[in-house]
Amino acid sequence: MRAVVWSLPDLDGPGIEEPSLAGPAQDAAGTGWLDGLRWALSDVRVLAWRTLARIATTPEQLLNVTLLPLVFVLLFSYVFNGAIVFPGHGSYRDYLIAGIFAVNMGGTAQGAAIGMAVDLSTGLIDRFRSLPMSRAAVIVGRTVADLLTTLLGAAVTVLAGLAVGWRVHASPASLLLALVFALMFGYSAAWAGACVGILARGPESAQAVGLTVIVPLSLTSNAFISTASLPSALQLVANWNPVSVLAAACRRLLGNPDPAAAIHAWPMQHPELASALWSLALLAVMAPLTVRLYIHRTGR
């Protein structure tokens, strides 16, 4: 009645040197910090791949990432186009797309928050913790994958924008720079989201908290409207809002109309620098905090 199919030496197939059972069978050759870093990067790659591979079996996960930008572009450029008073020269559509692009980037936080909370609600994290892997890699892998997913949504925004008549007037270098600022903001937002996901009691509360932060943040920015007409208190918020800052930076770099350039607030005068500082500051605070919280939450 014994299982005859079983034989461990076959585990590595023919032609691979049989590892001895006496020691650990892993391939971690050295224990120096360089090897540690190499393996940590490998962990990040594997975990980012995992998050993306999940999408392959449940593609509907991508619906909100891809459909929402499309809806935004169409809704604002056709339905609200007439209702929104846009000052100065240039078309509202030329103005709008960079705003939606910036909102997309901020939305990375939502994906990371829900994803992290879902992971923590399953037993998978226990499995990870019983492996000789880097613990921070769980969050780094998650945020990298969420950023890649966001890029897909951003691509939808760009394509839909081009379809409704949005045009850029910029050099390749400026385009690249706009992309770098966007990636920086998206990535640091992902860390903030991961932090929320770890603090949340479960996926539902992560989603709720994420929405209550992201929706007001997007609506009090210059993403969809020109903030020049806002009451002064709100204008202060809008001018320092990281979404506004990124949108303004992108508009300037892409040669799109940027009425905010007339606003005498430091972030609106130097949106590129302001955006970079925002992202770096957010990441500098969130990364160590999130890793600490993660280790505490999954603690021993």
Partner: protein, 310 residues
């Protein structure tokens, strides 16, 4: 290989471990047996570095679980009470991912995943998402995941709960082979026959501490006497038969329900049955059937665990 001393762990007011001592020599199998809430899972989680004990220490594969967690994790495999897998990935992708995270090179990781999928009879389902798996398939995949790193110490928390009899036998076979190859194994179970069959030593735990331990045979011997069942031909008076063998009875003799026979507690020793048969034969009593049943682990369990812990 596994050594624990005075482990305690409380969750708020609930005391999950109350000074647990364990010793599992290399290459042997230890079974933790205990009622619900006894602290089995907590013990496994402490030994696999998932939980930090409040007090006490433990060493696994020569490393302290509190201070050398990474070294411990590099040498152990574990399959928790609840399968810990990614529901949205395929079975194969889960295994490859876990192998890669166990720091196994890519090609080797694929080979091992394939070999384990075949060994655990999961080839058919290998490329389906785990959320479409049955409970038993998940269990087997989780076991496969725990074997990827070729651990020298393996922890299995209720590995056969929810498996059908055939899968259970397969798993028992695999476990037996792993042990034959020198793996040190600590498993928990609710099934006494499983402990009986797999374990070199059994630790009965209740209320977070060890209440009895020993080999299955020793524990059974502790429950005391065996039971001799004797059926005789209908013409013989049971009272007379009872009187004839009264000197062997180690306790009160009972009549067998629905049969013309007796149940006598005896102290089992070689030659006992032959002696009794000769004695009855000499007394002119026709024996239809005679058998000695050793005490089952169920008897042991009942006598050692007492009332189920809250």
């Amino acid at each position: 290989m596994i050594e624990a001393h005075g482990l305690t762990k409380s969750f708020g007011p609930a005391r999950a471990l109350a000074g647990l001592d364990l010793a599992v020599p290399a290459g042997t199998t230890m079974c933790l047996l205990g009622p619900n809430g006894a602290g089995k899972t907590t013990a496994v989680r402490v030994l696999t570095t998932l939980l930090r004990p409040d007090a006490g220490w433990a060493r696994v594969a020569g490393y302290d679980v509190a201070t050398d967690g990474a070294d411990v994790r590099r040498r152990i495999g574990m399959s928790g009470q609840y399968a810990s897998l990614d529901e949205c990935l395929t079975g194969r992708a889960n295994l490859v991912m876990i192998a890669r995270l166990s720091r196994i090179a890519k090609r080797k990781a694929r080979c091992r995943a394939a070999a384990l999928l075949a060994a655990l009879d999961l080839e058919q389902a290998a490329d389906r998402p785990v959320r479409t798996y049955s409970g038993g398939m998940r269990r087997r995949l989780d076991l496969a995941a725990s074997l990827l790193g070729q651990p020298s110490v393996l922890f299995l928390d209720e590995p056969t709960t929810g498996l059908d009899p055939r899968s259970r036998l397969t798993l028992w076979g695999i476990i037996g082979d792993l042990v034959a190859m020198g793996t040190t194994l600590l498993l928990t179970t609710q099934y006494l026959d499983e402990a009986d069959r797999l374990a070199d030593r059994i630790c009965v735990i209740n209320g977070g501490r060890v209440t009895a331990q020993g080999s299955p045979a020793e524990l059974k011997a502790r429950a005391g006497t065996s039971l001799l069942r004797l059926t005789v031909s209908a013409t013989v008076s049971l009272a007379r038969a009872a009187e004839e063998i009264s000197e062997y009875a180690a306790g009160p003799v009972r009549r067998l329900a629905g049969q013309h026979g007796l149940e006598i507690p005896v102290v089992q020793r070689p030659g006992l049955v032959t002696e009794i048969v000769r004695l009855l034969d000499a007394a002119g009593i026709d024996v239809d059937d005679i058998a000695v049943r050793p005490p089952s682990l169920d008897d042991v369990f009942a006598s050692l665990t007492g009332p189920v812990a809250a």
